[in-house]
């Protein structure tokens, strides 16, 4: 018997719609569970007080500060390198075996799993360079880890800058560098900023690469050479060692909330850029 193709068409449409809804539902459920379960425990006191008894009591203030430092400092290292690379690849050179080589390097860095970054940061920064478990070791490791994201997004943003802007700038007698700094970077800024925001998000949510380079000290880091614990690492330790389910949910809520805010901001900026050029 031949089944009516129109019937199959209807069935498949239904099936695919269900799959899409199911996928989104799972992911939304994850966020909702964390928000509902964590909400009662997230108080201003939880955010602004110090942990007591390994995190069983008290708050997450030092972890919030460590997370902020890690995010900001790793971006401070990675951004100049990333934007510089993107400018070189798009404005200062033609496609050649050298650029292919550089692109291969960027792609490979992007594909390396975070635990390998953790191993590398541990042996290189912590042990060989004698930085110990410190904010500095963690920051440098994460900076290398997020570099490919910044390079890619900046490259795409710079490529999207209309060519006539360059032509006009050159015809007014501007040098290449003047064109880059005064015309191209300002026009590509929103796209570049998107990449930076996404990278901060990755730094904030990372665990494996951070725990072996920054350590997991409960104290507020007093300097860049001190160990510190990020919110993601704290959450991992709370959950893995079964220290406190309530505090784990609460920490996860603050963590997810920060990441969602960072990512939403990134998409908002990207959207404005797309609107500007089309």
């Amino acid at each position: 018997m031949r089944i009516n193709p129109r019937l199959i068409d209807k069935l498949m449409r239904g099936g695919l719609t269900f799959q899409a809804l199911f996928t989104v539902a799972i992911l939304v459920a994850i966020v909702l569970i964390i928000f509902v379960k964590g909400f009662p425990y997230v108080t201003t006191e939880f955010i602004f007080s110090y942990p007591e008894d390994m995190g069983r009591l008290g708050g997450i203030f030092p972890f919030l500060v460590s997370t902020l430092f890690l995010g900001v400092l790793s971006i401070a290292f990675a951004t100049p390198l990333g934007i510089g690379t993107a400018i070189y690849l798009t404005e200062y050179t033609k496609e050649s075996s050298l650029t292919r080589c550089i692109r291969f390097g960027v792609e490979s860095l992007a594909g390396i799993p975070s635990i390998i970054y953790g191993l590398f940061g541990f042996i290189f920064f912590v042990i060989k360079l004698r930085m110990g478990w410190s904010l500095l070791s963690g920051t440098l490791t994460i900076a290398i880890m997020v570099l490919p994201t910044i390079i890619r997004t900046s490259e795409e943003a710079i490529k999207a800058v209309p060519n006539n802007l360059r032509t006009v700038s050159f015809s007014l007698g501007a040098t290449k560098w003047e064109t880059v700094t005064r015309v191209i970077i300002p026009s590509a800024a929103p796209g570049i900023l998107t990449g930076i925001m996404l990278s901060i998000g990755r730094a904030v949510s990372e665990t494996a690469a951070v725990i072996f380079t920054m350590g997991s000290s409960l104290r507020l880091p007093a300097s860049i050479m001190d160990s510190g614990r990020t919110m993601a690492v704290h959450f991992y330790i709370l959950a893995r060692e079964g220290i406190s389910l309530e505090k784990a949910y609460a920490t996860a809520l603050v963590l997810i909330f920060s990441i969602l805010v960072i990512n939403i901001l990134a998409y908002y900026i990207m959207h404005r850029m797309i609107a500007r050029f089309s």
Partner: protein
């Protein structure tokens, strides 16, 4: 242009070139340091005794990671089997069936959800999936099944968003041609659009696999971390990544070197996966 300006431009070009080369430099030193710590043990104990050995007792001179290699592949495959069809269905719906408005809402929200930290997936796995398995299927609950489920959910956003891009890059003329010949929507999707996007879809699966096989902390939380080769879906397991993370903090001497050897094996697997994915993506662009 006067000479001073030209010199300045050349200096800038040079600095930017150095910046661009930094990525290659980082890749190089990462490889050098992982290899220089990990390879000596291969020379000392033998590649076969490490990659094919089944006993891991690093303080007693046994460095077999074969069970972990097997476990890593099993959970990755499990994640793919559970996650890939769902993700592909989702991306097909988004690119072929969804209206513009739905697309505008669903695509960015999926990408936002890709930002959920992996430890959160692991945590919810421990709280919800592990007890469910323990209660209804038996065993401790910490198992291949639990790990595959957690990883399968974790790779949903990755596969969906990359295969969506592959589907969107199929020219509209393909669809119009098929529909004009009287094919139904589903016939068009199944016989024209999906085959045309095949290589991009495969690449998305491989990148999803890369994410699953590289995941560490979420896996530690739900896998049970036992050292045997798992023989059933309900057996606990230890992957290559968790082996490193579980022991690195206190390992010394040959034990620590063995963890770097584990890293070398992981790196080889990941690099091969990436090469295959790149090959597929490139072929799609060339076509």
């Amino acid at each position: 242009m006067n000479r001073r300006l030209a010199n300045k431009e050349n200096a800038i070009r040079l600095v930017l070139l150095l910046f661009a080369l930094s990525s290659l430099l980082f890749l190089f030193i990462i490889f050098i340091f992982i290899l220089s710590e990990g390879v000596p043990l291969f020379a000392k104990v033998g590649v076969k005794n490490i990659t094919m050995g089944t006993r891991w007792a690093p303080t007693k001179g046994f460095f077999g990671i074969f069970p972990m290699i097997v476990s890593s592949f099993m959970v990755t495959l499990g994640a793919l089997v559970l996650g890939a069809p769902l993700a592909l269905g989702c991306s097909t719906y988004l690119s072929e069936y969804a209206g513009k408005k739905t697309k505008m809402v669903l695509k960015p929200s999926l990408e936002l959800l890709a930002g959920i930290p992996s430890v959160v997936y692991g945590f919810l796995g421990v709280v919800y999936i592990v007890p469910l398995i323990r209660e209804y299927l038996g065993g401790s609950g910490f198992s291949i099944l639990a790990t595959s489920l957690v990883l399968g959910i974790m790779i949903l956003p990755t596969i969906t968003s990359i295969s969506f891009d592959a589907l969107m890059s199929v020219p509209a003329a393909f669809r119009e041609g098929s529909l004009a010949m009287g094919a139904t929507k589903w016939q068009t999707v199944y016989k024209v659009v999906l085959p045309a996007a095949r290589s991009g879809i495969l690449a998305s699966f491989i990148l999803g696999m890369g994410r699953a096989i590289g995941e560490t902390m979420a896996v530690i939380m739900v896998a049970g971390n036992a050292l045997k080769i798992p023989t059933s879906l309900l057996d606990p397991l230890r992957t290559l990544t968790s082996n490193i993370a579980l022991e690195l903090a206190y390992a010394t001497g040959d034990h620590r070197r063995a963890l770097f050897s584990t890293g070398v094996v992981l790196l080889v697997i990941i690099m091969s996966l990436n090469l295959v994915a790149n090959f597929w993506v490139k072929r799609r662009v060339d076509k």
